[in-house]
Structures are given as structure tokens and as C-alpha cells.
Symmetry: C2
């Protein structure tokens, strides 16, 4: 099952760091790429691209002007999950989502999610019904979707790699 992330309504001035964290969390927890809407932001793409270059794997990030056509194109190849605190609790929704073998597009709101998104999603999922962060919501969702196997993933072609240690920092360079 392949998972892509659609980040809605990115605003470079306000969301730069949060969107960077979001896309890096998407990569680290097993998604294979992302699309963002809102305002084009080459520096966001560059930040993520630098991580991919150093830390390996493949994680394309693409800008789109139209979230609606992204969602409708995706619907011809897979299913759509929308993360929202108003949706069905993660613990109630996750087995149906896991059990469905289609590729998934995970839609993550920025400011002002259009009401239509709720109708177009196959699942509206609440990672807690509390306000917190799209970054934490996405990470915990992916961690549940992949049942922790994403933690074991290797990123091919990395030029930097951490050597885990009880105390201190150690990296290998290739």
C-alpha cells in the first residue's frame, strides 16, 4: 500500500516550519511523497529535498493549484483519508483503513479546510478529538496504519546515517 500526503493551503510566511515538519514526518513515517496546495514555496521544497539528498530514499514534493483535481485523480487509483479532529476516532477507523489494500491519499488541512473535503474523503479520521497539530496527527496516523513497521525502514542511498547510541551522537557518512 502506497501512501501520499496532500497538504492543503500552505502559506509560506506563516506555515513554513510547520509544513516542513509535516512533510519530514510524512517521509520518516513511511509516506512516499507529497503534494501541497496554497502558495508555491520553493524554499519548502528545497528544505525537504536537502533532507532526502542527505538521508536517502525517494520523497517527491510537488505543488498543485487545485486540491480538488488532486483528490479526484487520486480516487481513480486509491482511497482518500482526511485527518480532522471532527472525524471518527482513529482507534475505531484504523482497521478498516488498514484492511483496504488500495493506495491512500492522506489529506491534511492547513487553515480553513473546505467543507467539500469531508464529503470527498472515504474516511474522516480524528487522531484524538482535541486540538493539537497536523504534524502529530499525521505521524500517529501513519504509525498506526503501518503498525510500527515504518520504524524499521531503511532509506536507500543515504549519505548520512545515525549510529544509535545510549549516550551521545554518532553518524556515519557514505
Amino acid at each position: 500500500m502506497e501512501v501520499r500526503v496532500l497538504r492543503l493551503n500552505h502559506r509560506p510566511s506563516r506555515d513554513k516550519r510547520v509544513s516542513t515538519h509535516l512533510l519530514l514526518a510524512a517521509r520518516a513515517f513511511g509516506a512516499s511523497g507529497a503534494v501541497y496546495t496554497g502558495t508555491l514555496d520553493p524554499s519548502l521544497e528545497r528544505s525537504v529535498g536537502e533532507v532526502v539528498e542527505n538521508w536517502g530514499g525517494v520523497f517527491p514534493v510537488r505543488y498543485s493549484e487545485r486540491w480538488r483535481s488532486e483528490v479526484s485523480e487520486w480516487r481513480s487509483r486509491g482511497r482518500v483519508v482526511h485527518l480532522t479532529m471532527y472525524g471518527i476516532p482513529l482507534q475505531d477507523a484504523i482497521s478498516a483503513i488498514r484492511g483496504n489494500p488500495s493506495d491512500k491519499l492522506v489529506v491534511v488541512g492547513g487553515a480553513k479546510v473546505p467543507g467539500e473535503v469531508y464529503g470527498l474523503a472515504d474516511w474522516n479520521v480524528a487522531v484524538t478529538s482535541q486540538p493539537h497539530s497536523e504534524v502529530s496527527a499525521l505521524a500517529v496516523f501513519l504509525h498506526e496504519l503501518f503498525e510500527g513497521r515504518e520504524l524499521l525502514r531503511e532509506f536507500e542511498g543515504a549519505s548520512l546515517r545515525v549510529i544509535p547510541m545510549e549516550r551521545g551522537k554518532k553518524m556515519a557518512k557514505h
Copy 2:
């Protein structure tokens, strides 16, 4: 087991939104309060305080000038977990941490974590060895620590509450 979060080196100009997301994720995933160091930021405290007022529960946030005394005071009542991509993988460390009944202080870096932190922590834990976000690292760590039970938590005295729905948004006000 009570869990508090220590956010290191908050810089209001740069970290405002990420630190807000971090503290809200701490609350949503079962921590019972937080301390931050770096620069005093009343607007950070206010943002979190407003969420607590509307969405319930108790989640004190306090500023401290000295991370070292926070850690050493904590060590007389509990244990210290430091989240860092250089540490021992979450999946290898989590059962020992869960199995230790002491209260936990979870230390989360901002920019430039002092090397001393690695030595003072009982566990240095890597939520993946990839760069992503302190927000996703903290959420997934707490979700593993509490084994998903934090998702079932009710927040007492909430004036707003989500009524989970398959499509759309519904809230109850008290």
C-alpha cells in the same frame, strides 16, 4: 505514571507555532504539563491556556530559566527520557521505559541541545533515526508509552467537545 514535558530553548520569533503545536500534542497525548526554557513567551502560554480553558483538563505550562535545575529536581522524583534522533530506537527502548513505574520527564530539544542532556537522561530515545519534527517524535513516543490508551482519555470540565462524525463537523458546547 505521570509525564511532564521539558521543551528546551524556545525562541519566540522562530518557534512560536512549533512550540504551540508541541505543547498541544503533549496535552492531547496524555502528558500532564510542561516546562519550557529559552525565552519567556507569554503568548505561547496564552495559546495553550486558551485550549485548556475551552477543551478541558489541566495542563500547566511554566517557564524556567534553567533546564539543568529542572532536570536535576526531577531526578529526585522520577526518570528522564530525552527524545533525540541519535538515541536508541523507540521500539528497542519502549518496554523498559513502560515497565518503569516512575514519573517521567520527557525532554524535547529545540535548536542546539547541550551535550550534557545526553548524559543526564536515563534514556535517549530515537523516534526513527531520521530528521522530522519534535512534534511528531513526542506524539508517537507518548502514543507508544501509553499504548494507545491516551486516545480514550476524557478532558474534564471542557466547554467544547467534538461529536465524532463520518462527514462534517459537530461540536457540543457546555
